[in-house]
Symmetry: C2
Subunit: 488 residues, 2 copies
Amino acid sequence: MSRVSFEEFQAQRAEFIAQEENRALGADIVLNEDERKVNEYLMKLKKAELDIGFNTPSQFLPSRHFFQVVDKIKASPLFQLIQKLPKGGILHAHDTAIGSMETIVKATHKDHLWQYGEFGRADTPRFKFSRTKPDELDGSGWRLVADIRKEIGNEGYDHNIRNLFSLFNKDPLNSFHCINHIWGIFANIFMSLEAIVTFKPVWEEYFYQSLKELYADKVCYLELRGVLPQLYDLDNRTYGPEEVVRIYYDLVEKFKSEHEDFIGAKFIYAPHRLCDDATFSQYMDIAERLHQKFPTFVAGFDLVGQEDLGRPHSDFNERLLKMNPSIQFFFHAGETNWNGYTDENLIDAILLGTKRIGHGFAAIKHPRVLEEIKRRKICIELNPLSNQVLKLVDELRNHPGTFYFSDNYPVVVSSDDPAFWCASPLSHDFYVAFLALASARQDLRLLKKLALNSIEYSAMSKAEKVEAKHKWNISWNNFIDQTVKLVA
Amino acid sequence: MSRVSFEEFQAQRAEFIAQEENRALGADIVLNEDERKVNEYLMKLKKAELDIGFNTPSQFLPSRHFFQVVDKIKASPLFQLIQKLPKGGILHAHDTAIGSMETIVKATHKDHLWQYGEFGRADTPRFKFSRTKPDELDGSGWRLVADIRKEIGNEGYDHNIRNLFSLFNKDPLNSFHCINHIWGIFANIFMSLEAIVTFKPVWEEYFYQSLKELYADKVCYLELRGVLPQLYDLDNRTYGPEEVVRIYYDLVEKFKSEHEDFIGAKFIYAPHRLCDDATFSQYMDIAERLHQKFPTFVAGFDLVGQEDLGRPHSDFNERLLKMNPSIQFFFHAGETNWNGYTDENLIDAILLGTKRIGHGFAAIKHPRVLEEIKRRKICIELNPLSNQVLKLVDELRNHPGTFYFSDNYPVVVSSDDPAFWCASPLSHDFYVAFLALASARQDLRLLKKLALNSIEYSAMSKAEKVEAKHKWNISWNNFIDQTVKLVA
């Protein structure tokens, strides 16, 4: 045995690092001269934040709970640059958890809104829009929100609404004692919100406002997962799944006509996995009908809800295999810390031919799953902040995304339910992914790749992707032009 | 596109799961009939704890901080079984952090021990054994420990000692604000402890007692990393590196002669990485001398101390390459959350030809490192509890060991500094590894493989390994025989 010379060692070391850099996500992107200048600036900002963290670990923002650092992130020049960067599309986000809380607050200023029960009680208040006092529950308990507002003032009322419909909490580490606890609160928000947001005028405003917020956050495409709740109006008309999808479709078209650089949106029907067999059959029927009626706008099928407490995939496989084979799957799978339990949903999802995997947090514990993800190019939809808030991981540098990023797995970064944790539509997730999931060496090429992946792994047709890339390219070049001027 | 039949799907699913099971750590072990019975019992205990955790996540012990659950683990029948299981060797543990605190407490009952400074102050007290009042520091501040004991009572004094020399803390989540903070306290313990433990009679008792505790915890082999501090006695004699190693060697031989099923121990010289160049040169000289003098007992060389705050490997590579090529390396590397900083020590360690890697926590972020670990069979020494206590990871199910276990990486489970967190020599780390790093499907074969790996990847010669396996096999078979009787 002998040791190599130092010169030989240094050559080997440089080669080794180059080999790792070459297989990381984004390494295949070639930057032009202007992009290289922007990259230099971006990396200066990134290095500054990493160095602060390296010297004072408690100051490294993505290591701490998002709720503790959201104000500090706002002040980060790196975050501000990422806000301006065209990030492509969001491929993983849920219907009523995308748009900011303020749209909901605004909705509670509308006439004809009734409230049953008080704020701050164990039983959260119920709401309903109605011309006359609702007769559900104990009829006498309903009061007009307008009257309550007079009593406690608009500021107090709005504050209560914001509290009610968000997980945001000043002491997150001590407030949620386990994953099932926070998921319980999380599911409650969806439920209490429902009667406000399913009022047809609010539904339309909420979705349109969500598109505006995406657009402002430099997101130009959306694949929306939704449960399609029944909508209602003041004339006691209700609106079923096809009508709700029609509303989505029309609003997307309207938005596109008003924002020509917006690429569009598609819908993934994703009802709740905690259901009985009869209900599941209804879901499958709805999926078939939507697929017939909206063959391009409705991209496919998924199931939502906490995997650990929901029914395992194996309960549904036999019936899912009988679905019209032209309906594509976009399954949530592996959103769990367990290993040899719920995480085996990943195996079902893959064998069912899922096009993408929602979260795939546990995929790292399954070597065959990892192989199939690469072989079949199944995109993993990463939602780092969601995984932190919903208690899969505290320290984001331990997120499995670090592994997927290091070896060019097919991934996108998404945001899941950003409104519930007061995050921006996508920029906060991009920010933590860039600092905590990426290597210090990964640069603008990674961010560009993530944006391009969100088009590449979308449910768009080939022709749609060509148009989408064209639109995104224009935005990207504008961003580069503007940023080069600032940093030159 | 069409979907497969349910029968075909079920066959594919079973095949997929079998493929994953077959590549997991331990899958190559074939159990005999008695082992299968023990395995059934073991898996019943494991499943019971996993099911409790699955249903009530906050009750899953390895998910919580070790300090919060140490009493509950003591009561676990699974833990009690693992205590009795012959676990092979400890390949990663540090000189004065292996033996239990009680040996230190006992040492402070000895005559001629002096103390400077009081308990509970920011400046921790200093100690020295001496026939006369020491003249270091402000000479008048020294008091005989025996006199202090008279004042505050033995119980109170012992309590203070236990507090001083342990990280154990009832509120670990709020007590240590970052990794550098806890490493500071951790390094202080080593320093304050030094003057007690380097008193030659204490040193000898401490090491011998450590071997006894290992043996009682069903550990039959040790590769000890040590800094070789200078020892002293009451006659003002001091003892240098060779003499300290000689003490280790003689005590191991004595222990072996009194415990014929104990395999033995080897020593890895591992001085501190935070040193100047001149000191580093001295370390290298010592390493060479030890290698000449104890060619089989001294296994090789390593560097210790927090990697993030220590000098990077690249500072030492040129000189390390000049070391006698027959000195083997056992480098700590990748004991960090960073990605593109300190973690690149992994690349140096591999290119320097390290035989094993201490921790390798960050290796998961380096695809080429992972490849080389498999190709060159470089064993990763996992220390899950150490990584939790020293704040690399809270939730042990997010430990990269889950990945290494799932795909048969060459690994052992070790314990690093168990005394400092009041853990048993190895059983606690085996327990959390079996529940949190392993899949629910991984069974006795995993534990057997970990024990066998600790022999296979040790620094023993081929002939030594044959003898070691023979001894371990006898213990293992005894364990199986005894357990089969209990569970039959």
